[in-house]
Symmetry: none
Subunit: 232 residues, 2 copies
DNA sequence: CTGGCGTGTTAACGCAATGTGAATCAACTC
DNA sequence: GAGTTGATTCACATTGCGTTAACACGCCAG
């Protein structure tokens, strides 16, 4: 907790008990209003390097998860990510494993929070997140936003890349259109389910004829990537 | 059975609430007496591969930490390591960061334990627990929506999959057509009972000749899956 | 302003999945 | 063995769902 170690805290008026606990522990912290604010580099004027993030998801769940997704996008270095949730939100975690490193249930004991922070920081000392995701012929570089298939570069639009990234990160899993809209587009997004269809179609077109079947549709459920290429 | 997904649990008479929680979640587990017992390969007779370890350190702290140290020695593959501690033991964690992956404070909420286990398993790169249902030669992957029989993939339609899933989840129990219509099709659904017959028939056909009798008809009652294969 | 470009929406189309009815078959009763 | 009930099978209609193309909006660069 020396010098430049600052935590990103959400929401903007930080929860009082969280504030007290952090101050008592000697941690430096700064609040962030939301995902957009972080994307535009608020609060941290210079290099946008945080020690970690503490996101309270018990009051404004959608905004909180949106922030987590933004942080995990990789633009901002926020290695350990701790979320605060209420006990009733435990089910929300099941499909969001990749959005946090640890969680704590509110109301929390100050010393549990401190212990989790310490453990997270210790673990961050020697843990690297993969900067490249690949499945089969697909290879996604998370830093350069470049997608390759069979070593040949693809030029995807932003949404196409995000969709492909999400599917590739969870190969084999089936996602409903609604889930995709939530996880890829954003929790606050309200739109028609056909949006997903169209983007899947465009993705398939760009993947080429031979690889179009990488994205498989599970009828009346949703879409999934890969798995079971051997079926006619 | 699928692979050796078994948790190592300490101490030997495992805490009752932990036992209940694990059993309810469908996890396999086995107790270990202590560090020496693990070193000598007790409990796990064969290859000594565990899915993870859950060490309760609130009753016998010294023995528990000794076990953690032994597990972390590397001889036994025990990747995710979860410790249970009392609130008063939080300071003990400060100098033991390398001995555990996550911790939970007793008394704990069962759903918090399950959430932490799932997250740990996810982080370890393996699939989480309750995503696969199987009975006999049938194996249903709930997140891939894939059905396998004898390791060979089946391609089922949505309703066929849902019906098989429901029956497999409650093997041996007889369900009336009406119950099936309610539980599988939907509570608001009102349709002819022949619908169930036809879907059962299609399922049997896809299961193949040898496994068609997995779905048995109980005359003037309904259908059930498995149990009593000796009836030919 | 104007032209591309990325994105979301709408509607038409085609097909497979589902449900229904009738005919056939098997099982139990008397 | 006849009669009755229930289960199986088949064929066919229809609905529902995914695909596809075309369009509309907003954004930014030129």
């Amino acid at each position: 907790m020396d010098s430049n170690e600052t935590f990103l805290v959400f929401p903007d008026p930080a929860p009082p008990d969280l504030v007290r606990c952090l101050d008592l522990g000697g941690y430096r912290w700064k609040t962030a209003a939301g995902a957009e604010a972080v994307r535009n580099g608020n609060g941290n004027d210079s290099g946008e390097t945080w020690t970690g993030a503490i996101v309270a998801a018990d009051t404004q769940p959608e905004a909180a998860w949106a922030l987590c997704r933004e942080l995990r996008r990789g633009d901002v270095a926020t290695e350990p990510l701790l979320v605060l949730i209420s006990g009733a939100q435990l089910d929300e975690l099941t499909s969001a494993d990749d959005l946090f490193d640890d969680f704590i249930i509110t109301p929390f004991h100050p010393r549990e929070l401190e212990a989790r922070l310490k453990h997270l920081l210790w673990r961050a000392g020697r843990g690297a997140r993969p900067e490249v995701v690949n499945y089969g012929p697909i290879e996604l570089n998370l830093e350069t936003y470049q997608a390759m298939i069979d070593g040949r570069p693809l030029d995807l639009t932003y949404m196409e890349y995000e969709l492909l990234r999400f599917l590739t990160a969870n190969p084999g899993r089936v996602f409903t259109r609604e889930t995709l809209l939530n996880r890829v587009w954003g929790y606050e997004y309200y739109g028609g389910a056909r949006t997903v269809d169209v983007h899947v179609r465009r993705l398939r077109a760009k993947l080429g004829e031979e690889h179009a079947n990488l994205i498989q549709t599970v009828r009346s459920v949703g879409y999934k990537l890969g798995q079971s290429r051997w079926k006619e």
